[in-house]
Point group: none
Chain length 202, copies 4
DNA sequence: AATGAATGAGGGTTCATTCAT
DNA sequence: CATGAATGAACCCTCATTCAT
């Protein structure tokens, strides 16, 4: 590769600021992640520097989200793709997401906090919601999920997953424990969505 | 009891401020719920009034949480108590919580927003988490829940419930739709926690 | 009068801030009249105090304009009303406006500077322009002004008047000199608008 | 002159910046004409370029003024020179200045805005003022103007002219309308300064 | 018990200017 | 010649809290 494309997170300072922002958000939370704190964390002398590199706070946050998704996607995507069938993919998604905590705890915590607090819902959160919903519908059509309300399930399960991930990320346990938690949660979700056994549940 | 004791949320002004705070948080969100906005909403001429009646923002918020829990508890508790057995109570809790949206949408939204944003975890959230966890453990001992990780399940299911509730509270549907959503979510949770059927995982 | 109505410039601090703002604008000009400077001039410890009393910079400026107009109107109106006929009133307006410099030099300079720089044209400037235009039209109908373009004349003569006033206000001369300048300018305007003499001008 | 000397506004980049600055000032006004905006308008990647070519903001502005005067002078001077006599020249100046709006509306608006806002009075504005004053005195000596206060008249008439020009430049009308306005204004000024007719005015 | 003015820190953003490359 | 990152001050505004009355 002769010419390396310059992605929008690169250019040195920009990347540095984004990284600092992610760490600060992971540390003190979205609400207290001010430019001042981010600048200090990044070793910058003034907040003006951030405004110089980003159009505003929303812009910075959007870039942070994009960067985190890039990093986490690189970790999760192969694991999900390796699974075959709707059920296995659901399990793979959940387990990969929990395992991700071991690799990028700050990024994971920051992402969830940003998404939770942003007024304008990012494409990220809505995208994942739609993805789950669609996945459930497709699985139902294929007969591997029972005919529950796909939207309600998508909301409950994605946010439940987030909560487990955040809890784990707050004080990251070892890989084995993470794997166990991932398996537990996947079990929960697989059973919640599984087709009726003979006798029913109620 | 002939004379009702004056609870600590009463005394006129205090109650008025708490009510205003809850409504403001429900309307504009925790982050933008400043004393100024709350005072304006309560018809107060200055924020000094709030500081006079409450030790600080944390105090006000704590009282708000307590008040909301009092109100919501009055709605939910009878419904939960009416259910017999761990499974039925789980279902009752979930359905009551969703139904609550129809009665107190502002309170419900405010509570979840406060709990989500408070640095210091309130006794409320931890209490409910412990409650669920304990409920799961007891049910497992009784053989009506399968032997999953009670803590992970408690985290995932309580927050999933919250998310469904918040979504519903944002634009509250009619009672019938709320009942349907409640049933859907309860189904999901009951199945997730149900003991193995004869043939494995279904 | 038993109960004195509280006008919107009163209440102590508000009036003090308005006064300080007017003086600062007169001194350093609209562009450099920051809250910081105004607060310092008013003996306030922080700019927050100004924001506490006024909704924003625009609000403060609007109140300044209103206050100046109140003060200047009290000076000019009787003098204008005392004149009879369109020509005499034109002369009276011009002379009163120039004489005003001797009474309220800062207010006069501030007003013109605000009006000149405000993006949103105030009712003040447009009002005066319309007033002049209407006055010219009425005088033309009465045959005491010649049939010139009333709008162009209104623009040129009001701003010319402003310029003379500002120049005089920069280093206010004595009343006699002000009276002379007022008379000179009034002469200019009266002649510019006078009906044709027998021989014509061109 | 075979080889044209390179004036100080030329040299490519400088001229480009000056042109951009004039356009930006005409568009958004003096107050909001920052280096950032000018650089963006000029297609420059940073404001450093401007600081590199000009000693400071005042310098840039001074060069802008000089450039505008060069351009406008080229339009107005021949028209003024073509007129004979003090009265005719006054008329020619006014009419040429208004007509100029049709040719260089941006330049005209920018010039007046700069002159209005600059703390340090430019040689330009003072020069024109002195020019008018001198012209009036000379005409008075020649008996073609009446013996008014030359300075007061110069102030009032030049700024009145500016105001008419700015108004016209804000939404430039066609040449015919401009010519009419110019004639109207010139009439006003010629009459204001004309010697007494037999009967007097007062 | 209540008021409302005052405080001082901190929020994000824009600015003209500088300087190493 | 030219770049663009860096600077540091200033901008208006909002905040929770305090305190004399």
């Amino acid at each position: 590769m002769l010419v390396r494309a310059k992605t929008f997170t690169e250019s040195g300072r920009r990347a540095q600021i984004v990284e600092a922002a992610i760490e600060v958000i992971a540390e003190v939370g979205y609400a207290k992640a001010s430019f001042t704190r981010i600048a200090k964390h990044a070793g910058l002398s003034s907040t003006g520097m951030i405004s110089y590199h980003f159009a505003g706070k929303d812009d910075l946050l959007a870039v942070c989200v994009a960067e985190i998704e890039r990093v986490t996607g690189a970790f999760m995507q192969p694991r999900i793709d390796a699974a075959e069938g709707h059920v296995a993919q659901l399990r793979a998604y959940v387990e990969a997401n929990v395992a991700l905590v071991g690799e990028h705890p700050a990024a994971v915590r920051a992402l969830i906090d940003i998404v939770k607090n942003r007024a304008a819902r990012s494409a990220a959160v809505d995208g994942r919601l739609a993805l789950f919903e669609e996945h459930f519908r497709a699985g139902q059509a294929a007969g591997v999920f029972r005919p529950f309300d796909a939207r309600t399930a998508a909301i409950a399960l994605t946010t439940g997953l987030d909560a487990v991930v955040v809890t784990a990320a707050t004080d990251p346990p070892g890989p084995a424990e993470l794997a166990r938690i991932g398996r537990e949660l996947a079990d929960l979700y697989v059973r919640a969505t599984a087709p009726e056994a003979e006798g029913g549940t109620r």
